[in-house]
Symmetry: C2
Subunit: 207 residues, 2 copies
């Protein structure tokens, strides 16, 4: 155990509970106000802990943000990873859309956290995007291209296909305020959205 950078002591129950509280509060605050718009005092209030206590658990504001982004990336890429090369092409893509839509519904704060970060040039996330995301993106666009070459999907640019899927699904989380206003606060616009997107991408991709 000569790794001086990782003081790996098993975290106590209090550690676990409070770190979770802080991260949950920070997610709420960061996703609504962006990194620079968020303050430690807001996070302290939302978490029910004092500001110095928050700095006892995290090295600073940026450390909290980075921790959130790291945790986010895994969950974010997961639905795309699940796209199975051996499954039915059309159903795999429609399934992916469904999963993304579920994430917009269940984790809108995470979606907005990500959107805020990328909108502002991804200053704290570029490395993640250039490695993890880029690799997965290349892999999956290649897979989709193969499916198209085999005539199992109507041909189109797989990269823009993925962009469109991301854009349309995340839109309902990121622009929730606008959507709510325009649909007169309909109980759940996401239901109608899912049906619409299924139809649209089915028509696009059916050979």
């Amino acid at each position: 155990m000569n790794d001086a950078t990782k003081p790996v002591k098993k975290p106590s129950r209090i550690q676990l509970r409070n770190r979770k509280r802080i991260l949950d509060a920070a997610l709420a605050v960061f996703s609504q106000h962006g990194y620079r718009g968020a303050t430690l005092d807001q996070i302290a209030d939302a978490s029910g802990l004092s500001k110095p206590n928050i700095l006892y658990y995290f090295d600073g504001k940026e450390a909290i943000h980075v921790t959130l982004l790291n945790a986010l990336m895994d969950n974010w890429l997961d639905p795309l990873k699940k796209m199975d090369p051996d499954g039915d092409p059309l159903e795999e893509i429609l399934g992916y859309i469904h999963r993304k839509m579920q994430m917009s519904r269940e984790f809108p704060r995470e979606s907005r956290l990500f959107a805020n970060e990328v909108l502002q040039g991804a200053p704290r996330m570029k490395p993640h995007l250039e490695t993890g995301l880029k690799t997965l993106f290349d892999e999956k666009t290649a897979l989709i291209q193969r499916w198209m070459d085999q005539g199992k999907l109507a041909p189109c640019d797989p990269r823009h296909l993925l962009f469109s899927i991301w854009a349309t699904t995340q839109h309902y989380a990121d622009f929730e305020e606008q959507v709510a206003i325009l649909t007169d606060g309909e109980t759940d616009p996401v239901d109608g959205a899912e049906q619409f997107l299924d139809n649209m991408f089915r028509k696009l991709l059916t050979p």
Copy 2:
């Protein structure tokens, strides 16, 4: 002219020039950092004016932001307004998509300014959305519905159609950083995007 709220004196040349400088600088700063992340000092630097001088032309940080948002709304709604009830339905919608895509290419900062605002709950823009945008939205979705009822377009929910158009076109401005990384800094991904979107929405809407 008994309107005490508007000191309507014709603005001098210097007024005009400096207000423009300030708004241009503010657009750059606000669109990158969001409202709370932007500082008057940054705007001062970017505009080449001193901070007190900026406050000579505008009542404060918020006034600058509001001015930008007001100016934005007009340009933002314009492409949709241009959708002609008497034109060919499919071509009208594809033309609208084309115009929106042009705006993403030419005015990415405006797109990001808008995205930042809505992402954070549209605190300074809700009234605008509820009046101007909502009215136009209802009008145009009704028009598209009529077209569908007449069998001139394949049926789908016109509201989600517009959401999808907004999401996909603005994505290339708002998530420019991500798109650039994933396309290896391709000269202009928007070209390919336009072709892709034309194809997708054509397939969706062709009866």
